[in-house]
């Protein structure tokens, strides 16, 4: 290394070619904390695939400002306890920044560990409000927040003309937060909430819950939890021959929903979400999706993995533009200097709390073929 540097200095004398000494800069290690196993393994594996692919590409082209990026994966298993261990492992591996993770409760369990060690963290699928209300200077997220989502969901529910809703969550901090948000927005009685309760995620039989809800005769079921449970609710609702419409949040934006529920049952299901992988526009997104498709034979199954890609993109940019890639330096760059950057899911900038600015949520509906159709 040193010889290259000396050679570079001699050869490049007067030419001042930045790449020459740039190649000498130490590599930067970035952690990806993702649920590679566990209930959300599908999300986690896609996250890792996206980030690995981007890192490979970047390193092939000389790295971020001459620094090669090393990716270190920490499996959080979709579980807060495992996440704390994964976070400690990543910190001891010497990462400068961490991308991830998916579930809000899981992210929350790792936040303080990273904060204590000056490691920057960019959440990718963690939309719970609390996460950025703690005033952690090194925490960012490329996903929007639940209160955005709650507002958009309430607006659409009113616009679609529903009057009497059953609100179901699963007691996770994400689902509960979103449910409370939506319920508060219906306090003016614009929509009556006739049922408000939680189901147990991981259960197989939700017909007891559905039977109970049916007696209250709502004209809409709002489920704020994740896709496996949403799919089971849809399927069992269909089996009861009950045709009430259902709407969900962005955690149900996963193609596995239709596999589990079956097209017949999923048809007509509404959900609020940032645009999905196949609806991303722009040259960069389309090119990357094509490359991902070529490598992994399928698109990422949800937008959250793409958000991990956005996190990687802004991190790479920050690393390129700071002298020393410490958490504090990177955070300063992301807070103050990141402007007009267009990521895979649209323009990205961060406010002082570390939240992403701008409105990204859209209304989707599942059509008869099981496709997710954007409703303008």
């Amino acid at each position: 290394m040193r010889i290259t540097a000396v050679l570079g200095m001699i050869l490049g004398l007067g030419l001042a070619v930045p790449q020459c000494f740039a190649a000498d800069r130490a590599p930067v290690r970035i952690g990806v904390m993702a649920p590679v196993t566990g209930e959300w393994a599908s999300e986690g594996q896609d996250m890792v695939n996206v980030v690995r692919l981007l890192a490979e590409e970047l390193n092939k082209n000389g790295g971020a400002g001459g620094r090669l990026i090393e990716i270190e994966v920490g499996d959080d298993g979709g579980d807060p306890k495992t996440a704390a261990l994964a976070a400690q492992r990543l910190v001891s591996a010497g990462v400068a920044a961490v991308i991830g993770t998916y579930g809000s409760a899981v992210t929350e369990a790792s936040q303080d560990i990273y904060a204590d060690d000056d490691v920057l963290q960019i959440g990718t699928g963690s939309t719970s409000i609390r996460l950025t209300e703690k005033g952690l200077p090194l925490f960012f997220r490329t996903c929007p927040r639940d209160d955005d989502q709650g507002r958009v969901m309430a607006r659409h529910i009113k616009a679609l003309g529903f009057k009497k809703a059953a609100l179901v969550h699963d007691n996770s901090s994400y689902a509960r937060g979103l449910a409370e948000e939506v319920r508060a927005l219906f306090d003016d009685q614009s929509v009556a909430v006739v049922f408000y309760d939680a189901i147990t995620p991981g259960d197989r039989d939700y017909s007891t819950t559905l039977t109970k809800i049916k007696t209250l005769n709502p004209d809409l079921i709002i489920f704020t939890g994740y896709y496996p449970e949403a799919a089971m609710l849809l399927r069992q609702k269909k089996e009861m021959a009950w045709e009430v419409p259902m709407i969900g949040g962005d955690a149900t934006n996963n193609l596995a929903l239709v596999d589990i529920a079956g097209r017949e049952s999923a048809k007509g299901y509404y959900f609020i979400s940032p645009p999905g992988p196949s609806d991303l526009t722009g040259e960069m997104s389309e090119a990357f999706m094509a490359e991902y498709q070529a490598r992994f034979k399928t698109l990422p199954s949800s937008v959250w993995a793409v958000m991990a890609g956005d996190a990687f993109k802004v991190l790479a940019l920050a690393i390129e533009n700071v002298d020393q890639p410490t958490g504090a330096n990177l955070a300063r760059y992301l807070h103050n200097d990141l402007k007009d950057f267009v990521g895979f899911t649209g323009p990205i900038a961060f406010n002082e709390k570390g939240d992403r600015e701008g409105d990204v949520y859209r209304l989707y509906q599942v059509d008869a073929e099981g496709r997710f159709v954007l409703i303008p």
């Binding site: 209930e39 147990t200 039989d205 007891t208 109970k212 799919a231 089971m232 529920a261 017949e264």
Partner: protein, 301 residues
């Protein structure tokens, strides 16, 4: 009344599944005094084997739905029994002479092994039995539409349990199993091959667990490699409620647990369902520490 009928059928279907799995716990405990912690994962294995046989091979499209399901049930039960047998030979038999604690640790090891093996073979993403695998019928009971499949699950589990009960109490092999449960030494002296009895118990239990897995897959659709944990825990609870080591007890415990869950969710709170369930467990154990039907030394199992 509508809620009552619906929740009754919900509870009986879920309870039937719990009872089937609970039988595996209770039989092994009856003969070996061992809690087979890997039993829940054999249940998962059954669900995945069923998926491969019925969905991946598309058996229904080749030989018709009825024969496909019958063949699928037999294959799943047979293969689960085989898995149970291999597990007994590999993980429990070598430890027969060492303390009971080592066998429990070995059982936990098998559980972790099976879970991860299933994840690696079939993938970490959950699989889904297609919703149109079986034709869906709804039949009216007391004026309420009840999915036929739910009744089929319940009736199948009752049928299998009655069959098992008759087998244990009426056949010579059943007598050998009962004898081994009461006193292995005396059973050996009477010319009973206790090793074979144990091997048999470790085939019957997993076969029933595998059948339960298949039924959960077919009726609820989604299967995941960790689904055995929750079902295993619930079934274990059911076995304890009924009095572990007692076959009718496991059946009653399973059905009771299913009903408590359904009615707890219906009349108290959905979110408190599991809390209510385990509260009932504690209550029963306080009043009857050995369960509803404690194993009686004279006619264990």
């Amino acid at each position: 009344m509508e809620v009552f009928i619906q929740q009754l059928t919900n509870g009986l279907a879920v309870g039937g599944i719990y009872a089937l799995i609970a039988l595996g716990y209770t039989m092994v405990y009856g003969v070996l005094k061992l809690i087979n912690f890997a039993h829940g994962d054999l249940f998962t294995l059954g669900a995945y084997l069923g998926f491969t046989i019925l969905v991946s091979f598309g058996l229904g499209g080749r030989i018709g739905v009825g024969p496909a399901v019958a063949l699928g049930v037999m294959l799943v039960m047979g293969l689960s029994a085989l898995a149970g047998h291999i597990m007994e030979r590999a993980a429990y038999r070598p430890l027969r002479k060492s303390g009971r604690l080592s066998a429990v640790v070995s059982a936990l090891g098998v559980s972790i092994f099976l879970q991860n093996a299933i994840m690696l073979v079939w993938g970490a993403k959950g699989l889904a039995y297609p919703a149109d695998l079986l034709p869906r019928f709804v039949i009216p009971i007391a004026g309420q539409p009840v999915p036929l499949l739910r009744l089929v699950v319940f009736l199948t589990s009752i049928l299998v349990m009655v069959g098992l009960y008759a087998f244990i109490n009426r056949s010579r092999v059943g007598m050998a199993i009962r004898a081994s449960a009461i006193d292995q030494g005396a059973a050996k002296l009477m010319g009973i091959d206790v090793r074979q009895v144990i091997a048999l118990v470790f085939m019957i239990g997993p076969a029933l667990g595998g059948l339960a897995g298949l039924m959960v897959g077919v009726s609820y659709g989604q299967i995941t490699f960790f689904m055995g944990q929750l079902y295993g825990l619930k079934a274990f609870t059911a076995a304890i409620i009924g009095g572990i080591g007692n076959i009718p007890g496991a059946m009653i415990g399973g059905l009771l647990l299913g009903l408590v869950e359904a009615f707890g969710a219906a009349y108290v709170s959905v979110a408190w369902k599991d809390a209510i369930t385990f509260f009932v467990l504690i209550l029963i154990l306080v009043v009857r520490p050995t369960g509803l039907l404690p194993e009686r030394v004279a006619e264990k199992l």
